[in-house]
Amino acid sequence: MKSLDDLRKLRDKAKRTLDMTDLVGGIRIQVGMGTCGIAAGARPVLQKFIDEVAAHNLHNVIITQVGCMGECAFEPIVEIVEQDGTKTTYCKVSQRLAEEIVEEHLINGNRLDAYMLSTIKR
């Protein structure tokens, strides 16, 4: 990095990628992969998302790992971030649920209220 301006340029470019500005109908799947998430089974869930997204030929979806969101009791947590910034947080995501999220939320656009953090029953 030669100067602050170089960094600013890189920042603006990286921000476009992070905000999915150039991706039509972009959706970002964030899988919580801290130690807590991995211990709760986030690895196979992440793999499942990769497989499902590939199987359905979805080109507008970015899958990424992130750190712990703080709600360790509800791991594995998966956040679906849409282009407009809407975030849906699913908790205790299993491989089966991953499949359902891809089919219902990503393809059909219906959020699965029953698995969302805000509606989970204790």
Binding site: L4, A14, T35, G67, G70
Partner: protein, 603 residues
């Protein structure tokens, strides 16, 4: 095209049933009529958690919440709020933090009361990709510091921010940097203390795993301020994911020349290396940590000389905790005044706590200093599960003490916790309910410190061992009242005469439980009973009249010691009972208690 305003309509289930779809159609119609559809964007958003106030409409920017919005209100919202910018006050929510109304949505409050500075990127960006960190203004603080500030002004800014060390003792970070600056030497070191060892604390791990670059950036800033070109991160090998992501982060930062020689063409160079610790608790103590980096046995030494004068390999060294570093880039991006405005007067900023134990929402919370324990435990943490009663909260791990219900409304900061006989520690917060025996809790922590004592000084090595012996004796039912006095005097002696903070703070769990729960100790030594039903030798389970005869206890008893008929009070045969506590856990009405036996039956 960018919209100047977003209208978020709650698309949650409850609000849909209160006709939020019709609202959207009406908004569309009216906005179209006013020719505003290009400027304003309608979004069907997720549930806002205020369902009995629904349908909810939120206008951003400004975050104006309108409740009970009807189709008839929409024209007014569009004409007044959207066109003229006047808030339609009759539709505003009157009391959004009314506990009664949103208590079922504590999940939303989990984030509501928090303020994320150290954890700002955790769970938001991919820790393995430096570009995502840069996209969220990463390394901009370092760039700003290197291109427009002198080392002295960096230290001054740190001092002004009032940031205090998040590792436990709460020493002013700016002052620490200043001491290291004053020491004259060609070689100086910056160390990040990531040897997080308290049972139940995982704040540092989360930062390293979720946002490793924030620590690297802060270390480089610190290096520039104190005149150091080499940093070490001392992280325990038990954190393999953190180690992997840190190594990857260092590699990526080097590739982009954000570490290495001549960063931002400023002439300043900085390198960072990892040093793995084998997981000894004492290595969290800075002098022991440095001994361990040097390749020696991790043992503390006397201070002074402080590390800022004579540290790693005899050179001036600045040691800061992970969370302290994680705050630094944010301070330089937004300014010391911004940081100072958060928190309390003497403890600025936020603190991350790892909530654990008997609490509904186990996890990490970051709250502004000055939040009360009650808010943390009951509002953010969701309270105690299984309808048990709150008993105490242990902060600061094996170095801290218990805080009782009386002190729950005290605002948390470094000084108030010390005043309560506990300490901030690194931020572990273990919640205990009526099923926890406080003598057993003290024994647990002491067992930990006995294991972790390095053995260099006698008070810690021998004193903690003798204290543990006494606690074991009490838990086994052989304790006497004299033992309590002896325990207290040894505890004070260890506290006063140990070499390092490990020994000096090891008696805290004992002393604080002795102060706040002396009646439990007395129950153990005089009545020979453990009121919580934890210590097996002192537990005599009885079923009280609260019993509803559900038979769950009898079904769960592994030795069939419980008899009774359905819908009638059950009875425990204490000669068969093995004190496993399965019945107590199974009881839905909390009818099983541990009570003293009549004298002659004492075991």
């Amino acid at each position: 095209m960018l919209s100047r305003m977003h209208i978020l309509i709650c698309g949650g289930k409850e609000c849909l049933s209160s006709h939020s779809k019709e609202l959207r159609d009406e908004f569309n119609r009216v906005l179209n009529e006013l020719n505003l559809l290009d400027e304003v964007r309608l979004v069907m958003a997720g549930c806002f958690g205020l369902c009995n106030q629904g349908p909810i409409v939120v206008m951003t920017p400004g975050e104006t919440f309108y409740s009970h919005v009807t189709v008839e209100d929409i024209r007014e919202i569009c004409e007044e709020h959207v066109v003229k910018g006047n808030i339609v006050s009759r539709l505003l929510i009157k009391d959004p933090i009314d506990k009664k109304k949103i208590k079922n949505y504590s999940q939303l409050k989990f984030y509501d009361r928090q303020r994320r500075i150290a954890l700002r990127n955790c769970g938001q960006i991919n820790p393995a990709d430096i570009n995502e960190y840069i996209a969220r203004d990463g390394y901009l603080a370092l760039g700003k510091v290197l291109s427009s500030m002198t080392p002295a002004s960096v230290v001054a800014e740190m001092k002004k921010s009032g940031l205090r060390g998040r590792g436990g003792a709460g020493f002013s970070t700016g002052q620490k940097w200043e001491f290291a600056t004053r020491s004259v030497d060609d070689v100086k070191y910056v160390i990040c203390n990531a040897d997080e060892g308290d049972p139940g604390a995982f704040m540092d791990r989360s930062v390293l795993e979720g946002d490793p670059h924030s620590v690297l950036e802060a270390m480089a800033i610190c290096g520039y301020a104190i005149g150091s070109h080499q940093g070490y991160i001392y992280v325990r090998a038990e954190y393999p994911i953190a180690v992997e992501r840190l190594n990857n982060a260092i590699k990526q930062a080097r590739e982009l020349h954000l570490l290495g020689n001549n960063i931002f063409s400023s002439g300043f160079g900085f390198e960072i290396e990892l040093r793995l610790g084998a997981g000894a608790f004492v290595c969290g103590e800075e002098t022991a940590l440095m001994a361990s980096i040097e390749g020696n046995r991790g043992m503390p030494r006397l201070k002074p000389p402080f590390p800022a004068v004579k540290g790693l390999w005899g050179h001036p060294t600045n040691v800061n905790n992970v969370e302290t570093f994680a705050n630094v880039p944010a301070i330089f991006l937004k300014g010391a005044d911004w940081f100072k405005a958060i928190g309390t007067e003497k403890s600025s900023g936020t603190k991350v706590f790892a909530l654990g134990g008997k609490i509904a929402n186990t996890g990490l919370v970051e709250i502004p200093m000055g939040t009360t324990l009650r808010e943390v435990i009951f509002d953010i943490g969701g309270g105690i599960p299984n309808r048990r009663k709150f008993k105490a909260v242990q902060t600061g791990g094996p170095s801290g003490g218990c805080i009782t219900e009386k002190a729950l409304d005290t605002p948390i900061d470094f000084d108030s916790l010390v005043a309560m006989g506990s300490m901030m520690g690194s931020g572990g917060m273990i919640v205990m309910d009526e099923d926890n025996c406080m003598v057993d809790v003290a024994r647990f922590y002491l067992d930990f410190t006995v294991d972790e004592s390095c053995g260099k000084c006698t008070p810690c090595r021998e004193g903690t061992r003798r204290m543990l012996d006494i606690l074991n004796k009490i838990c086994a039912g052989n304790g006497t009242l004299e033992d309590l006095d002896l325990l207290e005097s040894i505890a004070n002696m260890v506290k006063d005469s140990s070499l390092c903070a490990l020994g000096q703070t090891a008696p805290n769990p004992v002393l604080s439980t002795l102060t706040h729960f002396r009646d439990e100790y007395i129950a153990h030594v005089v009545d020979k009973v453990c009121p919580a039903g934890v210590c097996p030798n002192l537990t005599n389970y009885t079923i009280t009249d609260k019993c509803i005869g559900c038979t769950k206890c009898a079904l769960n008893c592994p030795v069939s010691a419980i008899s009774g008929t359905v819908k009638q009070k059950h009875v425990i045969d204490l000669t068969k009972c093995i004190r496993c506590g399965a019945c107590k856990k199974a009881c839905p009405v909390n009818a099983i208690t541990s009570k003293p036996l009549p004298k002659e039956e004492n075991r």
